[in-house]
């Protein structure tokens, strides 16, 4: 009797090398375990993601409500002129002269970084970034087949920039840019004039772009002043700023950022990519336009709130044995060292196997913020995006988790 076989091949078309090499986001990769913890009835303190709990200004929503638009149309590819005018005014109030055609509104700072990386790197080109850095810089560069070249900074030194020599060693014919985040995500550092002057000199000397991600600009504590690279004279061809309303106005879901440069050729390049994706979101632009007209006092209150949280967090962390929290004076993150071998394992264990008074904590494991293998293994990024009493409760929970974890793994 003849026998018929059904042979099933699971042949599928090939995926790209770049996506195979793209690491999962350290900020989001534990989400399924947090979801499971919530399903088990636990309260999860989310300190993994820079999603502030600060209310979005009512003016933001009001600008979107009852718009009486008939058609929700594409906007200008560079963003509505009226929004760019308000962004220009905002920079004017800060003392930086930025014209509307030196601003291209993007779908979040993420898209701005994507457009800039695509505009300045050929495959295998290099961008120098102090590490630890915002993990997605890696994703954006990999997506362009470019490489992030890290210059390591250290927790003992509060993640201050190393000597210019350390940067100079990394510069070669493939180097296209130096990228900083100031105030720093994930480090909480605010760079001083001497550090920034050094980078300016290097960029000028080697014809590099100096890209500053300044989305946390207002979040500078202890009366320290944020210095934008936009203030440098004679650097119009080199300086590029990435900005966003996400943190500034607690409007992450608006997906409105921008790329800023006085380099006309670069902006023409970014504009070509902006045209290809048609336009940034219309509703978000409407809200952002209103938010950029808020008085200075809006920031005074928000900054005061964050400074209080920073104090509460630092105080609580300093009391936990074996934990190292550096000085933090900007943004709303701390890169913290824990008394564990693998923060990755520990963070997952907190979600999987631990609870303290019906709660647990979600943190972002540190290694994902480094490009150098083996760095940051015992560090975590903590986003202080909860109210002071919740932060204190979360830190108590973390302390209990560390005790339990050490008891479990003697």
């Amino acid at each position: 009797m003849p026998c018929s076989y059904t042979v099933s091949f699971n042949i599928m078309p090939k995926l790209s090398d770049r996506v195979t090499n793209l690491p999962a986001s350290p900020i989001r990769k534990l989400v399924p375990f947090a979801d499971a913890a919530e399903k088990r009835g636990l309260r999860v303190y989310y300190l993994n993601i820079g999603q502030p709990d600060i209310p979005t200004p009512p003016e933001f929503f009001a600008a979107v409500d009852n718009s009486e638009m008939a058609v929700l149309a594409y906007s200008h590819s560079a963003g509505n002129e009226s929004l760019r005018k308000q962004i220009s005014n905002y920079y004017g109030r800060l003392g930086y002269d930025i014209k509307t055609d030196q601003i291209i509104v993007t779908t979040g700072a993420s898209e701005a970084l994507n457009f800039i990386f695509a505009s300045i790197t050929n495959p295998l080109d290099e961008i120098i970034v102090p590490e630890p850095f915002y993990a997605n810089y890696n994703s954006f560069s990999l997506a362009k087949d470019a490489r992030v070249v890290p210059v390591t900074t250290h927790i003992e030194n509060n993640f201050a920039l190393p000597s210019l020599e350390a940067f100079r060693e990394k510069i070669n014919s493939r180097t296209r840019a130096i990228l900083i985040c100031n105030p720093g995500n994930p480090t909480g550092i605010l760079y001083d004039r001497k550090e920034l002057d050094g980078l300016r000199d290097l960029a000028k000397e080697h014809d590099l772009f100096l890209i500053a991600d300044e989305v946390y600009r207002e979040f500078a504590y202890d009366s320290s002043e944020h210095l934008s690279v936009l203030g440098y004279q004679g650097m119009d061809q080199n300086v590029v700023v990435v900005d966003s309303v996400s943190k500034r106005f607690s409007a992450c879901g608006a997906r409105i950022g921008c790329a800023i440069s006085r380099n006309e050729e670069l902006m023409n390049a970014v504009m070509k990519m902006a045209q290809a994706r048609l336009s940034p979101p219309t509703f978000g632009q409407m809200g952002a336009e209103a938010a950029y007209q808020l008085p200075e006092s809006y920031f005074t209150e928000v900054v005061k709130e964050y400074a209080g949280r920073r104090d509460a967090l630092k105080e609580a962390l300093d009391e936990i044995p074996g934990v190292v929290c550096p000085d933090i004076n900007g943004a709303f993150y701390a890169m913290v060292q824990l008394p564990v071998d693998s923060a990755d394992d520990f963070c997952r264990w907190m979600l999987d196997d631990f609870e303290h008074e019906g709660a647990t904590v979600m943190l972002a494991p540190g290694a994902g913020f480094y490009a150098t293998p083996g760095k940051g293994l015992n560090q975590v990024r903590i986003a202080y995006v909860l109210k002071e009493d919740e932060l204190r409760a979360a830190m108590k929970c973390l302390a209990a988790a560390l005790t339990a974890y050490q008891a479990r793994n003697p």
Copy 2:
């Protein structure tokens, strides 16, 4: 006497090859000339861009109005579960079984295409596309350093797909996918089952992705039926669909699209990129969720309106001497041949130097929709996104322009 020189170099850091090679959008590159025409007091009929004048459903705006959110937060990177549920239901009503985890919500179909291209192409890899095609396919592939390989279709043949042999000739070890737009932008063609079956067989035979941009799915006229590649059995590893609310609900400014596939590995890859850019716009998702719950009757009316415009456009074009308008039975575009040597020059001239009864017309020059140099030079894409009487007036204006242009250039 010593003499001091100020030598000014305008040295700037280098831009990437990819952006240097990126063509300006044929749909948007004439915008400055149209702006100038408006400033001179002219009425400009905008037929260059697929920005419908159809009112966005009131339900879309109502879902965004008075949301009572306190914080405009990031959504899930794959889009809100509640929106994906509605999209899944919508596909279910069309007869396609698509689960919520087979849908990733993106910032417009543009981002979906970007993510898919990034996921499947290494630099120099190839994607086969029938030309003329939506011009931004070129931009998205160039941005990934991949190549669009055209298979030319012809106006005399209403831009029908050529024989499978013409496709097979282009397939080599670098080929990763076949990409179609159905119904077609810019051609207005709706592919029939035989054409689609052929592409399915090719994709299966050569382990290629079969990517279908189906954002105009509902816009099929003359009782012709749109066939989604999602209906193919045994093609789960190959089939990818790109979709959007922009045209379906006249909500271009929402910037909400999606990537759909049953290929889990591909969706994991797309998800990594979705996580890196954090989330799609929150307001747009809220509106889209409401729109996907509209009854079928919404489309009946809209399709009737477009079919009427299509008839008006074709009738008017057929009356202009030397103009060739193919049969069009889907989307809301026509790729039309004009009695001019350079549609590029003619389109710009209409904006710069021409008026008819205080008005002029903006069209998209055809060459930008082809990858083969020298093709489409005397063609234009016309988007029939205005009411019938305005379309007729615009076509009168175009006829007058052609007469005047030919008189000027004998």
